[in-house]
């Protein structure tokens, strides 16, 4: 466990850091990091988290990097300890990270997390002059792999998704045959 360079983060990362809406506080780079820190902490504690899509997309590489630090460098590395201390302000989570989560991925490469999309939530905001104003929130699920919960996409869900349309059945069969060749 030397201080060698870390491998790639196997997750799509935007070339620009997104600005996140920061609740009551003045938006700034520090506020953005605080939002992400809270998401990461919640995800390490609960291992599967439902949140706004853009925040899930932003937080995923941070979570990946944190797990990767634990896997590649180990708990005794100075840099890893500093990052864990800041990103997981609750002490028991650092222990959980090193003893429960990191050993799952000892021989596995990044990505260690999954990101699923849920149907968007539409919430009514207010009514003005008999006209209703709604806001739409895209929702996503961020989960750490090999968690004890049942999988998000179960094996049965694939069968239920099969379309009864004749054209689709023929096309899927043709594709299957081509791939098998």
């Amino acid at each position: 466990m030397s201080s060698a360079t870390l491998p790639r983060i196997g997750v799509t990362i935007g070339h620009v850091a997104q600005k996140l809406k920061t609740g009551g506080i003045e938006p700034s780079r520090r506020a953005r990091l605080e939002v992400l820190r809270r998401i990461v902490t919640r995800c390490v504690r609960e291992e599967r988290v439902e949140l706004k899509w853009n925040r899930a997309v932003e937080a995923r590489p941070y979570l990946e990097r944190l797990i990767q630090l634990g896997v590649e460098r180990g708990p005794l590395d100075e840099y890893t300890a500093e990052m864990m201390e800041w990103w997981l302000p609750e002490r028991d989570l650092i222990v959980k990270m090193h003893e429960v989560i990191v050993p799952r991925f000892a021989e596995i490469q990044s990505p260690y997390t999954s990101l699923y999309r849920l149907p968007p939530k539409r919430l009514q905001q207010f009514i003005q002059n008999k006209r209703e104003f709604w806001k739409r929130y895209d929702i996503g699920i961020l989960e750490i792999d090999k968690n004890p919960f049942p999988p998000v996409l179960s094996e049965n869900s694939a069968k239920n998704e099969e379309s009864p349309n004749l054209l689709n059945l023929l096309l899927t069969d043709a594709l299957k045959n081509n791939l098998e060749k």
Binding site: P7, R8, L33, K176
Partner: protein
């Protein structure tokens, strides 16, 4: 509807982009690859010119490949030794203005910047009481010889503060004998803490937090001390893991570059023209 039915073919086909991004179950091959290649852990420090640009959008695979080929050719023609910021280096370059056509300068390396063919390093020395810095392009063809007279590191990776330090810290003998570094021993870290000249300085050293300066805060003027209350101090930036990832290097890239260097070396050695070795580490055992 077709998209949903494709879900049943998940086991056959590769990931469609409309599929959710799930965790990978495949084994970690990069560490094994790195061990096979004999990856040098200190690669980013020994060969900072072979890394990628710290600006994410300027990383261009074609440009890097073309530059790397030229860099390896140059390294086969001339011996570019290992040196760090804080090592004492002597550079002999050709100068048409002088009688002997050669110009030699000895100094401490204060910074190394830029990636690829543009990699630059600056040497600093004090000549007759006047501090002189010369910036050299590492791959400039007019450089005839680069020698490391003393291989060592300092507490910082950027010694720009030597401008505002007392002249004794930047003075090095032009006719210094090269000190050989025994192979296999780790690079010594020179832990000198430099004393600065009385303020005002060229930059606000009291904010930078350089480990190599002895007590910059008490040397700062009261005006700057009062200004600190309004200065935006960005200590939290070091916790931004993804920003560091965008600027930094990956193990995959380093291993690929190291493989390329080894292949190039083997080809040239097999052709029988030189026995010069490019890939070496003074700290690693022979």
């Amino acid at each position: 509807m077709l998209r949903r039915s494709l879900g049943s073919l998940r086991s056959f086909s590769s990931k469609c982009k409309s599929e959710p991004q799930t965790a990978s179950k495949s084994s970690n091959t990069i560490r094994k690859e790195a061990n096979l290649v004999g990856h040098i852990a200190a690669f980013p420090e020994i060969y900072p010119d072979f890394l990628q640009s710290p600006v994410w959008n300027r990383r261009n695979a074609l440009k890097e490949e073309l530059e790397r080929r030229d860099m390896l050719e140059r390294r086969m023609n001339i011996d570019i030794p290992e040196f760090y910021v804080g090592s004492i280096v002597a550079v002999t370059s050709s100068d048409s203005n002088l009688g002997a056509k050669e110009h030699r300068f000895v100094g401490i390396c204060i910074r190394r910047e830029k990636e690829g063919l543009h990699h630059q390093f600056t040497l600093r020395n004090t000549i007759e009481g006047i501090g002189v810095e010369i910036m050299y392009d590492l791959y400039n063809p007019t450089i005839k010889k680069i020698e490391t007279l003393k291989l060592e590191k300092r507490l910082d990776s950027d010694l720009s503060y030597l401008i505002d330090a007392l002249p004794e810290y930047s003075t090095f003998d032009f006719h210094m004998e090269p000190l050989a570094h025994p192979a296999g021993t780790p690079i010594p870290i020179n832990e000198t803490k430099v004393k600065l000249k009385p303020a005002p300085w060229t930059r606000r050293w009291e904010i930078f937090g350089c480990a190599g300066i002895e007590d910059s805060w008490s040397g700062a003027t009261p005006w700057f001390k009062r200004k600190l209350q309004k200065t935006k101090v960005n200590d939290y930036e070091k916790y931004d893991l993804v920003a560091a990832y965008r600027e930094g290097s990956t193990l995959e890239h380093e291993v690929a570059v190291q493989k390329q260097i080894q292949k190039f070396e083997n080809e040239r050695h097999a052709a029988g023209l030189t026995r010069r070795r490019i890939l070496r580490s003074a700290a690693a055992a022979k």
